[in-house]
């Protein structure tokens, strides 16, 4: 069990705000931290790692990481941390990067084998692709067999195909090592695939907390499905008004009424949903 009750004044791009989080996480859970940028997700992760100071208490199992009297240094927390920019040591080979954390050759070669990096273990990090570097970073974070694994947008710099691959590896490693994993992520499909619980932060406070299904699936009432997107263009084809909406990586056209066309502004966030409708799923 991780019990977090912290607060910290932040001076972000949107002015001063108070990060105030009271959160309990079960051992072995996979929790995703979501929310707009500047909402305090990364700061919360760094406070957990001991890289930033905050007021309040953090307890992990029966160990006190932080309270009014003590504040464990990052060196003593025994965590694993995966950075968005990998943060590998360029002067060390892949294997040395892992052994730097703990001189456990067996574990290092086991991890490198699991992630398919075995043949590259004597190379320096800068020749690897982004996906490979992040794998190394993930392996390195697990070298001290951490109870808690923290990941700060680990996959956001990678292309979609590589992301999916690494998501499977992250999940497999999370299960094998039995870590309590907390991951900052923006990607709903990633959160859905990996996490058992989503905590959404906004302006430093938790606004939603639940299973990915509860938090992320946004259909309500009689709506059958809903997509959020950005209004890109408003077209007129004869008497019909058409809105072009970007949803994820796709563009769709939606017929709208004349009055809607007048009230909509380009660039606006819109929701495309439908009712009483039987979608047909065809295989690609």
């Amino acid at each position: 069990m991780i019990a977090i009750n912290i607060n910290k004044k932040l001076h972000g791009s949107s002015g001063a705000m108070l990060l105030e989080v009271d959160l309990h996480i079960k051992e072995g859970d996979f929790v995703a931290l979501a929310g707009e940028s500047g909402s305090g997700k990364t700061t919360l992760l760094r406070i957990l790692a001991g890289l930033e100071e905050a007021k309040g208490t953090i307890k992990v199992a029966d160990e006190v990481w932080q309270d009014t009297k003590t504040c464990l240094k990052p060196q003593s927390r025994g965590i694993g941390f995966v950075f968005q920019d990998y943060a590998l040591f360029p002067n060390m080979t892949i294997e040395e990067n892992l052994l730097f954390v703990a001189k456990d050759k067996a574990l290092a070669s086991h991890l490198l084998e699991l992630t398919g990096l075995d043949s590259l273990k004597n190379r320096l990090p800068n020749i690897l692709s982004g996906g490979q570097q992040q794998r190394v970073s993930l392996c390195r974070a697990l070298m001290n067999r951490p109870k808690v694994l923290l990941m700060d947008e680990p996959l956001s710099a990678l292309d979609p195909a590589m992301r999916t691959k690494l998501q499977h590896e992250i999940l497999a490693l999370h299960k094998e090592f039995g870590t309590t994993t907390i991951m900052v992520s923006h990607d709903p499909s990633e959160i859905y695939r990996l996490a058992g619980r989503v905590v959404v932060l906004n302006h430093g406070s938790i606004i939603k907390d639940g299973t990915p299904k509860e938090v992320l699936l946004q259909t309500s009432g009689s709506q059958k499905f809903t997509f959020e997107g950005e209004l890109l263009d408003l077209l007129q084809a004869g008497v019909v008004n058409i809105a072009v909406v970007s949803i994820g990586q796709q563009l769709v056209e939606v017929v709208i009424t004349q009055s809607q066309a007048k009230s909509l502004v380009l660039g606006q966030r819109v929701r495309v949903s439908t009712k009483a409708f039987a979608p047909i799923l065809t295989q690609e």
Binding site: P74, Q75, F83, A87, L88, F89, N144
Partner: protein, 231 residues
């Protein structure tokens, strides 16, 4: 010409390089923690410390030399303390030169090291802390190996700058044969007594050595940058 070269007194050069070597060694030890502190500090005292460190760059060497002379002479408490308790006289001898050079060359060691530390990926250092490594171990195993060009620049420029100093040396050390008469002072004296041919020879040696040292640094840094893929 060849004869002049054969009869050349090499002692001033040896003295210059000995002084530069010892100064570089002492400064490296002292400047490393200072540069690290400055690179990581968000404290309000940082600009004050930075200005103090950079002072020897802008001060005329005579001003620096004058103050060092005043502080180290046996009439001052500092000079008297060293004389009384350690039996060390601090002015007009080699020890005085080393102390003066350390002040004079301090910014040339601190600034490249500080720049090197600041250019490192902060997350990389944090990854080392999270891996359980202390700050000291992180500095020696992660930070320094990943800033070799800055490290080399700091060491070589400090060394070269100490070899090239003149005003401070003259103020604090005078020109005592085999003790404080370094190459730059020797050249000055030869010009004074209008021995231009020896002055030429000494100067040419200085130019050649200095160029080779600098060329070596830039050549190495170029290679390092290519190796880590900066260009």
């Amino acid at each position: 010409m060849l004869e002049a070269l054969m009869n050349l007194e090499f002692e001033p050069f040896i003295l210059s390089f000995k002084l530069a070597g010892i100064t570089t060694l002492i400064l490296f030890t002292l400047a490393l923690p200072l540069a690290w502190y400055l690179s990581q500090s968000k404290s309000k005292s940082k600009p004050f410390l930075e200005a103090l460190t950079a002072l020897p760059i802008v001060l005329p060497p005579s001003v620096l030399g004058f103050y060092i002379l005043v502080v180290l002479s046996h009439n001052s408490p500092v000079g008297a303390f060293f004389d009384e308790y350690f039996g060390i006289k601090m002015v007009f001898n080699f020890t005085g030169l080393v102390v003066a050079s350390c002040f004079y060359s301090l910014p040339f060691m601190v600034q490249p090291l500080q720049g090197g530390f600041e250019s490192l990926n902060k997350n990389m250092l944090e990854a080392s802390y999270i891996a359980g490594k202390s700050k000291l171990e992180t500095i020696f195993r992660v930070a320094l190996p990943n800033m070799k060009p800055a490290l080399l620049t700091a060491i070589i420029i400090t060394f070269a700058h100490t070899v090239g100093e003149f005003g401070v040396v003259l103020m604090v050390g005078g020109s005592i044969e085999g003790e404080t008469k370094v190459a730059s002072v020797a050249i000055y004296e030869m010009v004074e007594i209008m021995d231009y041919s020896t002055a030429h020879l000494y100067s040419a040696i200085m130019v050649i050595i200095s160029f080779l040292v600098l060329f070596g640094v830039y050549w190495y840094n170029h290679g390092q940058n290519r190796k880590i893929g900066r260009f």
